[in-house]
């Protein structure tokens, strides 16, 4: 009889607190959005699953291992404990993902038109205004964000998942779950968030601007670019070196053409394995104490503001450059400067086509799009330099 009681007491229903129940529902919601609505499924499906698993009471997914005094293990830790500690707390998983993203990135459009780097810079404005926004929310007394928290929240505006996770793991581990969910959700929502802003800030005539065809870029230029970016990082912003160093390494593996088997692995087996575990590990931060707060609402609010401001400043920078330069830039591609590769570039292309069915902006938008990845990694380096 005691056994029956023990089993019932072990059962999840008995232990399930309200918060855990809500978090399991949120995990199911993320999985629903990933599967039925196509919201960044590569990340949100594992994140949702991690959220469910970590909130099963008594399952011990986050249990710490217990060692006896001689250092031998008395009781093993939970799977998500090991994944989080080994891969996310250390920053290893986002860096491996960034290497793989580098190996998938083509800097050709950027090299053909380097001025688009300014669009990628301008779109990071959302990051820094969001930091101010977070501090302003704190000053209202409704929420409580430290400066480090504010910086980690701001990086959502960088529209780059691994960068956001890396910065959050260094500056605000408790907010990591909410920040990652916000970052990936809004990246999935780019096709809804950006077009109204793009249309509000541009005239029909601006949206119709045809851009010159991009010149072909040689393999040698593509090899030199990651190396010179790396040298500049080494000289001027070493705190951005982990993210940009791995990004350049991945890109160099791809463009060099001499290590194809390594490049293939970085783009496939390795990034996939890491993505599975990164998602589960991020999901493990979705516990009710850290997530079911008014702060999470603040993060969701600030995240979308950051996206909107970044989109706007990217567009406005393009309009400004048109004032001074003589090669016309369609301001729609400025919106792609937020990153969200390649979704934001596709949105720019689509809005451009609506204005003018002959106006193919996709390749032109890829320049600011990948520039935005560099821009938010630089911003991440700045944040870590001040606050890390």
């Amino acid at each position: 009889m005691d056994s029956v009681i023990q089993l019932l007491q072990d059962s999840g229903a008995y232990q399930l607190a309200g918060g855990q129940f809500v978090m399991i529902l949120i995990g199911l919601l993320l999985i629903y959005l990933a599967i039925s609505k196509g919201f960044e499924p590569l990340l949100l499906l594992p994140i949702g699953m991690g959220a469910i698993l970590v909130n099963i009471p008594g399952a011990g997914f986050l249990a710490e291992p217990i060692y006896d005094s001689a250092g031998h293990m008395d009781s093993p830790g939970g799977l998500l404990y090991y994944i989080y500690e080994a891969g996310i707390a250390t920053g290893i998983f986002p860096l491996i993902i960034f290497m793989g993203v580098g190996a998938m990135t083509d800097f050709g459009p950027l090299l053909a038109n380097p001025r688009t780097l300014f669009l990628g810079a301008a779109a990071q404005f959302g990051i820094f205004t969001t930091v101010l926004g977070a501090l302003a929310l704190t000053s209202t007394g409704l929420m409580d964000f430290s400066l480090a928290d504010a910086a980690a929240i701001g990086i959502i505006g960088g529209a780059d998942g691994p960068t956001a996770i890396f910065v959050a793991s260094r500056l605000a581990p408790d907010l990591l779950g909410a920040i990652a969910v916000a970052a990936y959700s809004y990246m999935a929502l780019v096709p809804m968030i950006q077009p109204p802003i793009m249309k509000a800030l541009t005239t029909q005539k601006e949206r119709e601007i045809l851009m010159q065809q991009l010149r072909p870029v040689s393999q040698r230029e593509k090899i030199i670019f990651p190396l010179s970016l790396l040298v500049l990082v080494a000289l001027f912003l070493p705190t951005a070196a982990p993210l940009l160093g791995m990004f350049c390494f991945g890109n160099l593996m791809k463009e060099s053409g001499v290590v194809e088997r390594l490049s293939d692995t970085a783009q496939n087996a390795l990034i996939n394995i890491t993505t599975i575990f990164l998602g589960l590990g991020v999901g493990s931060k979705l516990n009710s104490e850290d997530f079911l707060n008014v702060e999470t609402l603040g993060i969701l609010l600030l995240g979308i503001v950051a996206f909107a401001i970044g989109t706007a400043t990217g567009i406005l920078m393009a309009k400004l450059m048109n004032k001074f330069g003589n090669i016309p830039i369609n301001p729609l591609i400025g919106a792609a400067g937020v990153s969200a590769v390649p979704m934001a570039a596709r949105v720019a292309n689509k809005v451009g086509l609506e204005a003018n069915p002959q106006n193919f902006l996709l390749m032109h938008a890829m320049g600011p799009n990948v520039a935005g990845v560099i821009g938010s990694a630089v911003a991440a380096g700045v944040m870590i330099s001040y606050l890390g």
Partner: protein, 65 residues
């Protein structure tokens, strides 16, 4: 040990019931909207839905505390 075997049976029996019920429901109501399952562009109301649901969940939880 009977208890162990009993647990396995009861658990799988619940699974039979749940599975049968859900399959019936899916076959009745779910089969007509295959398009919804095709991944692709996110729907029109998702953003609002997402924010509303999460906000509602948080408020519901906080009001209980």
């Amino acid at each position: 040990m009977l208890l162990g075997m009993g647990t396995v049976f009861v658990f799988l029996a619940i699974l039979v019931i749940v599975t049968t019920t859900l399959s019936t429901l899916v076959q009745k109501y779910g089969a007509v909207q295959p398009a919804e399952l095709i991944p692709g562009a996110a729907g029109q109301l998702d953003e609002a839905t997402l924010l509303a649901v999460i906000s509602a969940a948080i408020h519901a939880h906080r009001s209980k505390q």
